[in-house]
């Protein structure tokens, strides 16, 4: 339901253009920065689809992407509790982010990360550290997942 907090154990994914990750494929904080017009960071709630398999969840997200995915773009998967706790414990002002369900037309899994406020770049860089794994944003015949480990 719109405005509900997502369960801590659930996962969200964020579309990441190839202009937002490094030549080594590591997602940077630029992927989690707000645009000037954004009130929250758009993500998709994976468990919303009620599919047990992560690949099937990702396949559903690909169907509802509102923009044409770039050939090298990725979907970064993050855990709700890990994002919230990591940012809370590591940000200078003990920031409390909230991940809320924000369904929109044709995209019922759409959700948002709220609470960026000031220090937006620092918060975005912290969120990038909690990326668990990445998948190609564009469906291909042999689209397989990649796992991203940060140094």
């Amino acid at each position: 339901m719109k405005g509900d907090l997502l369960p801590d154990q659930d996962h969200i994914c964020r579309y990441c253009s190839a202009t937002k990750f490094t030549e080594n494929g590591l997602i940077t904080g630029a992927a989690f920065q707000l645009r000037p017009v954004d009130k929250y960071l758009s993500v998709n709630w994976l468990e919303f689809f009620q599919l047990a398999d992560r690949h099937e969840q990702i396949r559903e997200v690909r169907k509802v992407l509102r923009l044409k995915p770039g050939a090298r773009a990725k979907l970064a998967v993050l855990n709700v509790e890990e994002i919230v706790n990591f940012v809370h414990t590591q940000s200078p002002d003990a920031r409390k982010l909230r991940v809320l369900h924000e369904p929109i037309e044709n995209d019922p899994s759409h959700s948002g990360i709220y609470g960026f406020g000031c220090d937006e770049h620092l918060i975005a860089d912290l969120i990038a550290e909690t990326v668990q794994e990445t998948y190609p944003a564009k469906q291909t015949e042999n689209a397989i997942n990649e796992t991203s480990f940060r140094k």
């Binding site: 937002k20 490094t22 030549e23 904080g29 630029a30």
Partner: protein, 224 residues
Amino acid sequence: MKRNERSFTTGQDDINAFEEFHWAKNLTATILEPIDLLEVEIKNWWAQKRIDALRRKSSITIEPVEELATSGAPESPFDEIIDRLSDDEKVNEIVKFLNQINITFSKQLASRIQFLFETSKEECPDEVAILPESLKNFVSFLQAEPNLKYPDLVLSPSKNIRAQWRTAPNRHFAVEFLPTSDAHFVIFAPDPKHPGKTNRISGIVSVDSLMPTAQPHGVLSWCS
């Protein structure tokens, strides 16, 4: 009609002549900043063209080149061409510039910027790919800080250049170069008093003040 869509129906000879002049000069030129370089060359070329015309018309008085170049002569048509360069064309000029100069990792940098440009265009064909003023500020910063290692380069949502030097979670220095000559930085660095802890700092400073602001946090220990 949009600014970038204006077409030129006259002056093709002048454009060809300038291109010959530009490439001949570039073989030995001392490179300045990329956009400034092009403007200076256009002005020099225009001055030379006027001198040649005077020489053909009169054998009485020839002013020195430098005087003519700065004598308040009418603006050349190429000043207007510079104004008419689209943001994308300016970025391409800067990439060409990086490919010509001989500084550490300039070609690698040019290649990466070209990739970011093409990817940005692929995803958003109707938007500017990279803000040229941001790119120019980044290149100027690198020229002023020649000891820095090759950074990871990405684009911010506003299409600014964001450079990142990161070797560990507590050795992280990321800088977004704004078009206004300011820079938005993030530093994660070991706390010198408590090495097990990490200091996390962010802010906006002028590009000129970036390293004086960042260096007290030890960023050069992993960026250079």
